[in-house]
């Protein structure tokens, strides 16, 4: 019964994540007309799911047992069960209210706040692994900054290698496959290197490097093939000098949008599956501090939830977001997404739950700092701060309330 309730709440979380957040990755490509909605949904679904399945385990581990002292919890595992159930209920409630009233809420911040909340109050302040929590909270500041710096550098590189050349179209055609290679290589390397124990695939550095190189070459070759099918814009009016280049960037941007979708799946699946995994362990009376990795079927369930949200609601959000961000031309979108995807995947591999949206905002601002975007509304920075304040303490309070509620109800 408890497992069903927890499963339902987790599925709702996954659904909401798929419905709201995937649009941030794919909206750019839809807005620029590079992908139709239908294709964007299919592509995003495949990559979100793969990201959740292959890399999602690390952050899920952190959420299910990294933030609390499991030795202390082991004394009375039922408390963990009520707490994680409370955390799920709190995050889900906050998410539903925020969606209804249009508040910018971060699911990551909510679930982390909720776990800290019940942990500190119900289990005792000592039960919270404060150094891990501090690491996570610091990453919420540093990860958008890292995304911003990476995006700034990427855009300057794009400018130097492509836009600033005599024949930018030809330059883009030459550089494009290398970007494909680079992104595929880095993401595969991060995924493979000691990352797939739950699939019984354990690669050391050299094994991972060789396979990542192979994947990179395939990615680069595929990129070369796609890019060389892009036709040069008819050399016409002055105004269209960069139109051809942007068409190549549309292809590159689809690639980075895929990378962001993969990265998003790898980080955000934990927000729904992390608490569920903890609850399942208690119910089955397993050793809570177990070293065994997250079971693959759980990640798959989370992935399916996200894909379900995307298919039932996410495509609408994608359309709206796409319409609103037409100012983000493909070359800028590419730079921002490349930076965001790498930052998020790295965080996922390190098991740090981060806000993909905040990192994407940081990356776009980074391109803006390089004077690449016409006008950026800095109110968004204030909104991020509001989302911090709205997510953390409120989720913490709600989860304490739900903890006592479930404790009273179930014990």
């Amino acid at each position: 019964m408890i497992l069903w309730l927890a499963g339902g709440l987790a599925m709702y979380m996954a659904w909401a994540i798929g419905a709201n957040d995937v649009a941030n990755a794919m909206g750019t490509s839809v807005g620029s007309g590079a992908l139709t909605i239908r294709r964007a949904v299919v592509v995003a679904a495949v990559l979100e799911f793969s990201g959740a399945l292959f890399v999602g385990g690390h952050v899920t581990d952190t959420v299910r047992k990294g933030m609390l002292d499991m030795e202390l919890v082991q004394a009375d595992p039922q408390l963990l069960l009520y707490g994680m159930l409370g955390a799920l209920a709190a995050a889900a409630t906050l998410l539903a209210v925020a969606t209804a009233y249009g508040l910018p809420i971060s699911t990551t911040h909510s679930i982390v706040g909720a776990i800290i909340g019940f942990g500190a109050v119900a289990l005792g302040v000592d039960a919270v692994n404060w150094s891990k929590v501090a690491q996570i909270v610091v990453s919420w500041v540093t990860s958008p900054l890292i995304g911003g710096v990476l995006a700034f550098l990427t855009f300057n590189l794009v400018r130097r290698l492509i836009l600033d050349r005599d024949d930018p179209f030809e330059a883009a055609r030459r550089a494009g496959p290398f970007f494909f290679f680079f992104v595929t290589f880095v993401i595969t390397l991060v995924t493979l290197f000691k990352g797939l124990q739950n699939l019984d695939l354990d690669y050391d550095l050299s094994g991972a490097l060789i396979r990542a190189l192979g994947a990179g070459v395939i990615g680069g070759g595929f990129g070369w093939w796609v890019i060389h099918r892009v036709k040069r814009a008819s050399a016409g009016t002055n105004d269209r000098r960069f139109a051809g280049v942007e068409r190549i960037f549309m292809v590159l941007q689809i690639m980075t949008a895929c990378a962001v979708a993969f990265a998003h799946g790898s980080n955000d699946v934990a927000n729904s599956i992390g608490p569920l995994a903890a609850i399942a362990a208690v119910v089955r009376d397993a050793d809570l501090s177990q070293k065994a990795p997250v079971e693959i079927w759980m990640l798959a369930i989370g992935g399916i939830g996200i894909v379900f949200g995307l298919a039932t609601w996410g495509y609408r959000v994608m359309e709206t977001v796409g319409r609103k961000i037409t100012e983000l031309t493909p070359s800028r979108g590419f730079s921002a997404e490349l930076a965001a995807a790498l930052t998020i995947v790295l965080a996922s591999r390190l098991g740090i739950p981060v806000s993909t949206t905040h990192i994407l905002v940081g990356s776009v601002l980074g391109v803006g700092l390089a004077r690449g975007i016409g006008a950026l509304d800095l109110r968004v920075v204030g909104r991020i701060l509001v989302s911090w304040v709205a997510s953390l303490p409120i989720a913490a309070t709600l989860s304490i309330f739900f903890f006592y509620f479930f404790k009273g109800l179930l014990s």
Partner: protein, 222 residues
């Protein structure tokens, strides 16, 4: 409420170009206006003036729209203050064109035969300078695309230099017309005063056009 969707403001670049198009269209109308005046066709002059009024209002409308879309919280590819300054110079082209048309039409002025050809030469050259400034502003989106660096900047710098050359041409032509005017001051009587003003205003449009270019060059210089 998606943070990403609310991150992007309306870029002022395209409205700036639209505004410049309207302003330079005002300047362009000055040439047929004076040609009709030389031909002595007063009704046609009045009609041109109406057209210039309409275009000037259009430019004003775009200007106000740009200003209201550039609140301080917007982070722009081009410094806000610089953008607004360029906008002011662009707008002055339209304003001065309107002043010229108003004076010409209201006083029912007639072009003295001795001045006609030299004066129309000046007007033509001034319109050309304004059109060159329009071409420079048309490069604004390409400048943003390349992030104000490299070859595109060199290209625009060259266009601005051409604009400067055109402006100094108008200085020479203005002097020529003024000298002719000195010679017939007595003949014209009080009209001479208004002709000084008209000549000054016409040449002034080229000054504003040059300032648009120079202000933009300061932007690309850093």
């Amino acid at each position: 409420m998606s943070l990403i969707a609310n991150l992007f403001g309306q870029s002022p670049v395209r409205p700036m170009q639209q505004h410049m198009r309207a302003a330079v269209e005002c300047a362009r109308q000055i040439l047929p206006l004076f040609e009709e005046m030389v031909a002595g066709n007063k009704a046609a002059v009045a009609k041109r003036r109406q057209e210039i009024d309409r275009l000037e209002h259009e430019a004003d409308r775009i200007k106000n729209q740009i200003r209201s879309h550039l609140p301080k919280r917007m982070f722009l590819a081009v410094e806000r203050r610089d953008m607004l300054e360029i906008l002011d110079y662009q707008d002055s082209i339209a304003d001065v064109a309107q002043d010229i048309a108003e004076l010409a039409d209201m006083r029912g002025m007639v072009v003295p035969k001795q001045l006609a050809s030299a004066f129309l030469d000046l007007v033509r050259r001034v319109v050309m300078a304004c059109e060159q400034a329009e071409r420079v502003i048309d490069e604004l989106d390409e400048l943003v695309e390349t992030g104000f660096r490299g070859r595109e900047v060199a290209r625009v710098d060259e266009m601005i230099e051409e604009l400067s050359r055109m402006e100094s041409d108008t200085d020479d032509l203005e002097e020529r017309v003024q000298r002719l005017l000195f010679g017939i001051e007595d003949e014209l009587g009080i009209s001479a005063m208004f002709w000084y003003k008209l000549i000054d205003d016409v040449a002034g449009m080229a000054d504003y056009a040059e300032r648009v270019g120079n202000r933009l060059r300061l932007l690309t210089a850093n």
